[in-house]
Symmetry: D2
Subunit: 339 residues, 4 copies
Amino acid sequence: MIVLIHKDSKPEQIKRLIEWLAQFNLQVHISEGKLQTILGLIGDTSKVDVDLVRSMEIVEDVKRIQEPYKNANRKFHAENTVVPVGNTVVGDGGLTLIAGPCSIESEEQVKEVAKAVKASGATMLRGGAFKPRTSPYAFQGMGADGLKLLLAAKAETGLPVVTEIMNVGQLPLFDDVDVIQVGARNMQNFDLLKELGRLRKPVLLKRGLSSTMEELLMSAEYIMAGGNENVILCERGIRTFETYTRNTLDISAVPLLKQLSHLPVIVDPSHATGLSKLVRPLSLAAVAAGVDGLMIEVHNNPACALCDGPQSLTPEAFDVVAKEVRLVHETLRNVRSGG
Amino acid sequence: MIVLIHKDSKPEQIKRLIEWLAQFNLQVHISEGKLQTILGLIGDTSKVDVDLVRSMEIVEDVKRIQEPYKNANRKFHAENTVVPVGNTVVGDGGLTLIAGPCSIESEEQVKEVAKAVKASGATMLRGGAFKPRTSPYAFQGMGADGLKLLLAAKAETGLPVVTEIMNVGQLPLFDDVDVIQVGARNMQNFDLLKELGRLRKPVLLKRGLSSTMEELLMSAEYIMAGGNENVILCERGIRTFETYTRNTLDISAVPLLKQLSHLPVIVDPSHATGLSKLVRPLSLAAVAAGVDGLMIEVHNNPACALCDGPQSLTPEAFDVVAKEVRLVHETLRNVRSGG
Amino acid sequence: MIVLIHKDSKPEQIKRLIEWLAQFNLQVHISEGKLQTILGLIGDTSKVDVDLVRSMEIVEDVKRIQEPYKNANRKFHAENTVVPVGNTVVGDGGLTLIAGPCSIESEEQVKEVAKAVKASGATMLRGGAFKPRTSPYAFQGMGADGLKLLLAAKAETGLPVVTEIMNVGQLPLFDDVDVIQVGARNMQNFDLLKELGRLRKPVLLKRGLSSTMEELLMSAEYIMAGGNENVILCERGIRTFETYTRNTLDISAVPLLKQLSHLPVIVDPSHATGLSKLVRPLSLAAVAAGVDGLMIEVHNNPACALCDGPQSLTPEAFDVVAKEVRLVHETLRNVRSGG
Amino acid sequence: MIVLIHKDSKPEQIKRLIEWLAQFNLQVHISEGKLQTILGLIGDTSKVDVDLVRSMEIVEDVKRIQEPYKNANRKFHAENTVVPVGNTVVGDGGLTLIAGPCSIESEEQVKEVAKAVKASGATMLRGGAFKPRTSPYAFQGMGADGLKLLLAAKAETGLPVVTEIMNVGQLPLFDDVDVIQVGARNMQNFDLLKELGRLRKPVLLKRGLSSTMEELLMSAEYIMAGGNENVILCERGIRTFETYTRNTLDISAVPLLKQLSHLPVIVDPSHATGLSKLVRPLSLAAVAAGVDGLMIEVHNNPACALCDGPQSLTPEAFDVVAKEVRLVHETLRNVRSGG
């Protein structure tokens, strides 16, 4: 950490600051120049409150060198974290395929989709029971009843399930859920993150619409600081000026998050753009970029002409995507292992 | 609402869609062209789920004409909403000045600041007890103890208080709080908004870092749909590519929100940029643009050289700002009333 | 095109507008409602000046349904455009690999890199002679001398060359250049685009840092409207709030531009993030997403420890990338052709 | 400037880097730590090419402390620059009002508007002859003929004129133009900036849609490095995710640019949002924030019902804005001078 000192600061002020810094066990190097005095803090600075230091009267600016996260940092944990989920794992070099409907609508719907995606190679089932919706007049999900239908589909297919939590009060309903999803809008709901840190159940943490990668890792750090290391990061598109797509998939986040952190990284190509016709190319792109898994919306409701979600694939389309992404995944795996 | 129909759609599909739309009591006009058939839906479309319509097989796109919010919409409520807060009001054409420390740190601090800002003309006291922090290692606020100190300062000065809530579970602690603040990161915490809709206590709703004005108004709609009409909107900066300031104050939001909605609009110039040296010019700009109030961070801790927040004013600096903003406010009021 | 009429407009005003619209040979459908009258314009609206219509007194808003570009639009030109470049082509389903140094520095450098990338399978050579630099104090490129060195490398290797033009006055120097590159900062230098429209030489048009896909296609339209149909689109990252990468590669632009337009689409993974360690995964992602080619910076200067560009690959690293992207390209090609 | 050295670098590599840095006459301070070695460069670093340093093999990252611009920097030029323009000046503490039509359409139009805005207190006339348009099919301006009409209006009213240049070739036509405007899309047209640096005529430099304040100041530096110090900076809205307004006026840029630079700063509230109904509040906000001037579109064409530009004021509306902004300007001037 680099601390730039205002040029008019008095020596005793600088001395007091250095004494205060002593509590963090850091080496402090001073560079005095005519225009600027600089303190270089060397050591583990992750617990120094940058905002507090920046707020000090004699400080002009603070620049971090080290990342402010530690548990999530690959520098302190070189091995990939492998998250066990039911009868499968995420992050071991294989390709996790999570699929299912956006919203759970009926027992028939969720079971049918579950069977179809399992047949196509999905290793986990997704489905929304509690839905965050921009409008109070839009369908808010089936709630606890929807959760029961999801668990029934789990029982029937053996697929572990992932579903979104909206608030801490819902936790008792999630006992049999395999992975708890934190949605993009809750990525900085710190009270919820702290509570999930007390569990040992895997958490799928979605990146917020306008959150930097560092903020995503800091939110993972909230969960891990509580002792829960089973965190799966999920890139699902960020908000930009482009209006053609609902969000902009930040594909660079895949290799970067893998480099910065040891946690598994998955991509949600369905929400990233809101356009089902882009799910196939973006799924392939994510796998080629090195993702540990994909979470894809699949819908099947032939009885209802109204319900083909604009971002959902049919089971048939999912089957094609699943084949192609596995092929690309294996091709790259083979060439890299010299196979 | 305009619904664009895929050119290959069959007449019976279009007929079925029109029948389905009948439930919303809308007039439906059909324009058939060679390249495109268009449905124009005329009437109150705020309860039509756009995502659902867009997801229909025969629909190419949907374009809203009317705003999707109703309770917050000035079209259906021409008069300004005036929110009563303790012994004062927000939104009656006067200028509300909310001031106080970012975080509550001690009884002495909060009382001293409260007295100082009251003397300078503040009409409400702010202070954070529960602090949302990006890092789990940063100071998270004094919590319930901080809230008590804030209420003690209220008792001593008579100033109504505004403070941030982080989750529904904290509500019992907020009985004597005059205005409940929803922070930018919780603007789309829909479960919290629904709960606040059940109260009749004023809610100060901050715009999310990457939320559009329409999304802000939809979040206000969540609260109002529950019956609580005492909502104060707050612009506090949005996230852009500019890195010099922490956020970019969207000053256009002030006149636009006033035109789109009847709710009072305030600006938080302290968080908007994170730079105390910009608080004065941005406060003046906000008042000139027609804001109903300002929320400004003021800090006073002469005993501690470490604590002059980078975005906080001293009481003396606040005094200057308060004088100048009142002067501009009165000048414009006089010239417009022909005074 | 949908035109929303102000509700207070008089019938004769609407009549006059409809008469004015007659010049464009459009069908006009009127939907009159209590709250809103709507005109639906059906036909080729690409030559209607939306800003002008929006500016009319009786018009509340205009919403485009059809795209405002025609020559670049796949709807009017279903077949892929294949751009001939020297002894090769871009856009025929193959994978174009353009490689070379960011800046041309010396004859030895450019020839050595050219030979290396050719050996690795590159089909075109890139190299900057005129460099757009943010600072007037930074190296601005070798200029005309650099161009000569690039052409010497072309003569020696037989690789066609692509290099950036900065202004119309430089055109005479570009006679032997195979593809003229328009940089991101010049994407809306309309006078330059018009001039390039008079040529028949291929133009590689880079997307501006904050340009939408539609704006990119409108800039292509400028060139094509002049009669030059040899336009290659290039996605090279857009500006967002994320600070870890210099820009954010908009990978969705690849399949979307291919769907919206018949022009070839390539990706520049080097400039997209400014980080050489991301070039491999992003190149793979782009190919998996369906790109027609890649443009990659390769640098080789073992004599100088100072010059390994932060976004450049060594020839050895490029060789690995070239192998892997070709493998993924062929794998997907085979599976789709049933091979 | 802070240079972070890779931890595996060899002492002789670091030594060679320090020798190379010697050419810039900087003091170099070394801080060696277990995890990180840091070089602090103290002195005038504006001529160090950061990208080049960052590209060096042993460098992990470079962080600037000093601004990369010098001529435009207030640190090296404390006094406000006052730009003389015809019979008036910009930047002396007064309020410059530039008004006129977006596009020049006829002699009658431009003269009528010129007289009207002069009567309302405008001190400069604006009008576009060469228009940058996103679509090749939209009206591109009257060109040289339009320029003549503008100069005729100057002759008649005595108002100095400002108009936009699109390329270097047009310069001979600008002899009698008082201020040459560089549009947002040309802010990084470096060849054009260099050419304008050779003149001594004032240049009004608009901030690019996605340019940071630092980039704007670097573009000013291009002009000033050539010897032309008569640069006026113009904030005109940046591109963000918000879709309600065409752009987002970055009001913080006003006080910040005034602090960072000694150059005059004006605001264009018309282009900032594209909505005429916001011109009044944003003009007032800009003046309250400390701007040196405003550039406002005014249109007058009673004969043509089609032409009321969506972002233009009528002369009557401009008259009201001019009165109110002068009032706010004087009020703040008086209170600050103790008047």
